[in-house]
Amino acid sequence: MSYNKGSKALTAKVHAMYGRKLTRQNYRELVRKQSVNEVAAYLKQQTSYGPLLREVNENLIHRGQLENILKRDLFNQYMKVFHYVSSGEMEFYKFLIMRMEIDEILFCIRLLNANREEEYLLSLPSFFADHASFDLYGLAKVKNFDDLLKLLKPTQYYDILKKYDPSAGEKIDIIRIEIEFNKLYYSRIFEIIDRTFSGKVAEQVKNSFGMMIDLSNITSIIRLKKYFDAKRDYIEKLLLPFYFKVKPKELRAIMEANDANAAWLAACQTYYGTAFKKYDFEYIEKYSHQIMYHYHKQLLTFTDSAPVAVVSFLQLEDIEIKNIIHIIEGIRYGLAPSEIEKLLVGVED
């Protein structure tokens, strides 16, 4: 067991950081704001985001800027974690860096497909540039797939990208690339977990990633069934080949269901069934986030294992930032407060 004082301190630190979350009351008031400026002013004056936004002029702030500040804050919090980590475990805690690298590359590819690659620069997370394994500003200069290949040649992502080099004039197959990247991401993580931790800690950490995989797979299947009426052969290729609480047999049953509704019922037979049954089949994406939120919250509350706490904390923080972004977008598009509230995760009960 790799339990040490540093690990206890980190767990405590994470719990303390989590204590500054937005409350349901905060959300209730936020969704009723009339403009992004009012949201910024509220966050500045009424929440723990105050010091973060102190210098910001809430009358001038833009959505992208606010989003950027929030993401940077999450990243800074994550960097604080490293003070408590022993060198032996450091490799594991860098999982978020890999996740962010993948997300940035995928975003860049999406913009390439849409011929809007010049926009990448504006949303580029400058705070991350020093930590990425490749030149992040280089991504802003990418004009085509060859540029991208050239930039990422020294990285672990090159081999995957090379396989999906599109022939002239065709779009890049982003779906396949995303799946391959995710496979790479999770196998690397599990590999590191096995190397770094042992016993119960290793199992718990694997489970918290495993849950994300399980839920992501179930959601993918039901979505594919619902929108494309996809068959098992097609779906199988788009799933992550890892199994945790959902057995391969159960997953097959969901895939082989006749339609989305049947798939939903099959999903309700799995480990996550009790949680699924609480929700309506209509909004599977939101509910899988909801389930994720509750699992992570529960894990964070009860765990005394630092890596589990960190993983859950980062997930919950991510959900909070997404919630704030949903609120801002909702307000921008003039949605009613009750409509915006429906988009938020972990707020309703």
């Binding site: 210098e55 001038l60 992208g64 400058s126 500003y137």
Partner: protein
């Protein structure tokens, strides 16, 4: 006698003297006006006077001016002020326009100063620029923009497509932003402005006054700022000077307007009939003559002073007069209700009993003195005016009983003797019975006061047949006597004549109160409504009266219980203190004493009020009086 005697005042006169009369009514602040229509009732010829108050607008203006200029409003002698109504209006208008001009200058200058200060703050962010702003802004081909760029955006400039056509020069940095300017060709300005907007650049507006380098501009603007500050100072001084010169006259005008306006408001109490007016109200007996004399030089005005009986149904207002000892307790009687004019003011009685009960329940020489000292300090600081007086009184009472109990901050062995050993375990029953005894005595006094009230109000029924009248008194006293004889002297006095005459007969009288009253008053109908209903209601009323005798008497046992609980709490605190050692023990004793004073002091205080309101006042006190509110001009209020 603690309720001031009142006299009825009727004033009749010609309308031409009316203004003079209402003003005189206001002058000394002792005339309590009544709605004259209430007295005139069905005399149709009289109509209420409802005129528009011509002074209210001007008065409101003076108040607005004073509030805005922070001039405390107050009375200023205005007899010497010889201004007609029109002149008053002119004066107010003049003052208003003058002060508005002066204040307008102050406001404009303050805004200008704020603008310059903001400009300096902004310029100070680009202070390190050694170029002349004039040169920069007069460039023919180059385009400049000052402002701040989020730190996150800065590195992006290095990689953007436009990187060769724009330069950003940071001049100052803070945690979130880089302050500086960007420069580009005028022909590119639109595109570059767009780029910077998307990088969340916030533009900084350079003041028109800024010339030369920012450093030079700052010092030039500072000079201007200083000049403006001087101007502002002068403008403020002008305001002060204005008030120095005009304050005296202004307050005189205000006082006069206030007087005219408030006395004008008194008109709504009056009625008129043709060319005559009628107004009536109350003055205290001692001021009546003085009040009447005011009108002697108005030959056509009659001011008639009459006794309260002449007022018929209109009850005189209650004006409590209490001495220094009892004054603070007015608060508690008023909480229950103001005594009616022909009712005994229970304040004096309550002062004695409340102090007595509090002292008995919370007897401690040290703690009592402490409460008294706290009260004295509060009084000296003019805080909690009435409550502080009560603190002093109950504190001293508590100290006296503490002396009798030999209890000083819970220590019971400091004095060499104990006059009343109430905390002795052997005396528990004696303490409780004595408390009940005190209760019986108090209830009897309450019944006596009720009978006095009955006499004052000339109500035979209340005097003779009430549960708190003679009948109730005889019954209660007899039962108590019988009980005392039986319990203490082991002697049965309950003979048949005793039972019939002193117990059953009084009960019967109470039961038949209503018909007996009607009989005495020679009313035609002896029982109103159905007989069955009467007998049942009367039975329940009697039952309730009997029950309240029992419950009210037993309720006084709480006085004894609190003596014991006080001893018990101090005992507990000493026990815990003894378990601790040294300073810990001392600190706990101090804490314990503070705790007991705060908690028990509060509980005992509340119990005292409870005993008075439920057990005592309900027996004799109606509290249906209306307060004495003489018409006077409130010069200090801003309403």
């Amino acid at each position: 006698m603690a309720i001031a005697k009142m006299k009825l005042v009727n004033i009749v006169g010609r309308m031409k003297d009316f203004d003079e009369v209402v003003r005189k009514c206001c002058l000394h602040g002792d005339f309590h006006p009544e709605q004259s229509s209430a007295a005139l009732g069905d005399v149709e010829e009289f109509a209420p006077i409802q005129d528009f108050n011509p002074y209210s607008r001007q008065l409101q203006k003076t108040i607005d001016i004073a509030v805005h200029s922070d001039i405390p409003l107050g009375y200023s002698e205005f007899d010497s002020l010889k201004l007609s109504d029109a002149e008053l209006e002119d004066y107010v208008g003049k003052i208003e326009s003058q002060i508005n001009d002066l204040n307008g200058k102050v406001r404009t200058l303050s805004q200008e100063i704020a603008r310059l200060e903001q400009g300096i703050i902004q310029l100070s962010h680009i202070k390190s620029l050694k170029l002349s702003l004039d040169d920069i802004f007069s460039c023919k081909f180059f385009y400049f923009r000052f402002g701040r760029l989020p730190r996150d955006s800065y590195p992006k400039l290095e990689v953007c497509d436009e990187k060769d056509s724009v330069f950003f020069f940071p001049l100052e940095e803070d945690k979130e932003y880089l302050w500086g300017f960007y420069v580009t060709l005028k022909s590119e300005s639109e595109k570059i402005d767009q780029l910077f907007t998307s990088l969340y650049f916030e533009r900084l507006k350079i003041l028109e006054e800024a010339h030369g380098t920012p450093e030079e501009a700052i010092s030039a603007i500072k000079e201007k700022l200083n000049a403006k500050t001087e101007e502002l100072k002068a403008a403020k001084e002008a305001v002060d000077k204005f008030w120095e010169e005009n304050r005296g006259q202004f307050l005189k005008v205000y006082s006069k307007l206030k007087y005219l306006s408030d006395s004008f408001d008194l008109r709504r109490y009056a009625s008129k009939c043709g060319d005559s007016f009628y107004i009536f109200g109350w003055v205290t007996e001692e001021n009546a003559e003085k009040f009447q004399q005011q009108f002697q030089n108005l030959p056509r005005v009659d001011c008639v002073i009459e006794s309260t009986e002449e007022a018929g149904d209109i009850k005189p207002p209650t004006h409590l007069i209490n001495n220094k000892l009892t004054k603070p307790f007015e608060m508690m009687t008023e909480m229950y209700g103001l005594p009616a004019y022909n009712e005994v003011d229970p304040t004096a009685f309550m002062t004695i009993t409340y102090m007595l009960f509090f002292g008995i329940m919370f007897g401690d020489l040290g703690q009592g003195l402490l409460i008294a000292i706290i009260g004295a300090i509060l009084k000296a600081k003019n805080l909690l005016k009435q409550l502080s007086g009560i603190f002093i009184r109950v504190g001293l009472s508590s100290a006296v009983f503490g002396f009798l109990y030999n209890s000083i901050f819970g220590y019971e062995d400091i004095l060499p003797f104990t006059i009343l050993p109430v905390h002795d375990n052997k005396n528990v029953n004696l303490v409780l019975f004595s408390a009940v005894g005190l209760g019986i005595f108090t209830i009897i006094i309450c019944m006596i006061i009720n009978m006095i009230n009955a006499v004052k109000q000339k109500r035979v029924d209340k005097l003779l047949f009430d549960a708190n009248g003679v009948a109730g008194f005889v019954f209660f006293a007899s039962v108590i006597t019988a009980a005392v004889f039986t319990l203490l002297f082991n002697k049965n006095v309950l003979t048949l004549p005793f039972i019939i005459c002193l117990i059953i007969l009084p009960l019967l009288l109470i039961y038949l109160k209503e018909p007996l009253t009607h009989l005495i008053e020679h009313k035609k109908k002896i029982i109103e409504g159905s007989k069955g209903e009467f007998f049942i209601t009367a039975f329940f009323e009697l039952f309730e009266a009997l029950l309240s005798f029992l419950s009210n008497t037993i309720s006084f046992m709480r006085i004894g219980a609190y003596i014991l609980s006080h001893g018990g709490m101090m005992f507990a605190i000493f026990a815990i203190a003894n378990m601790l050692h040294g300073t810990g023990s001392v600190i706990f004793l101090i804490f314990g004493n503070v705790f007991v004073i705060a908690l028990e002091g509060l509980i005992v205080g509340i119990q005292g009020i409870r005993l008075h309101f439920y057990e005592m006042f309900s027996r004799f006190y109606e509290g249906s009086g209306k307060p004495y509110k003489p018409a006077k001009v409130e010069y200090n209020s801003s309403k």
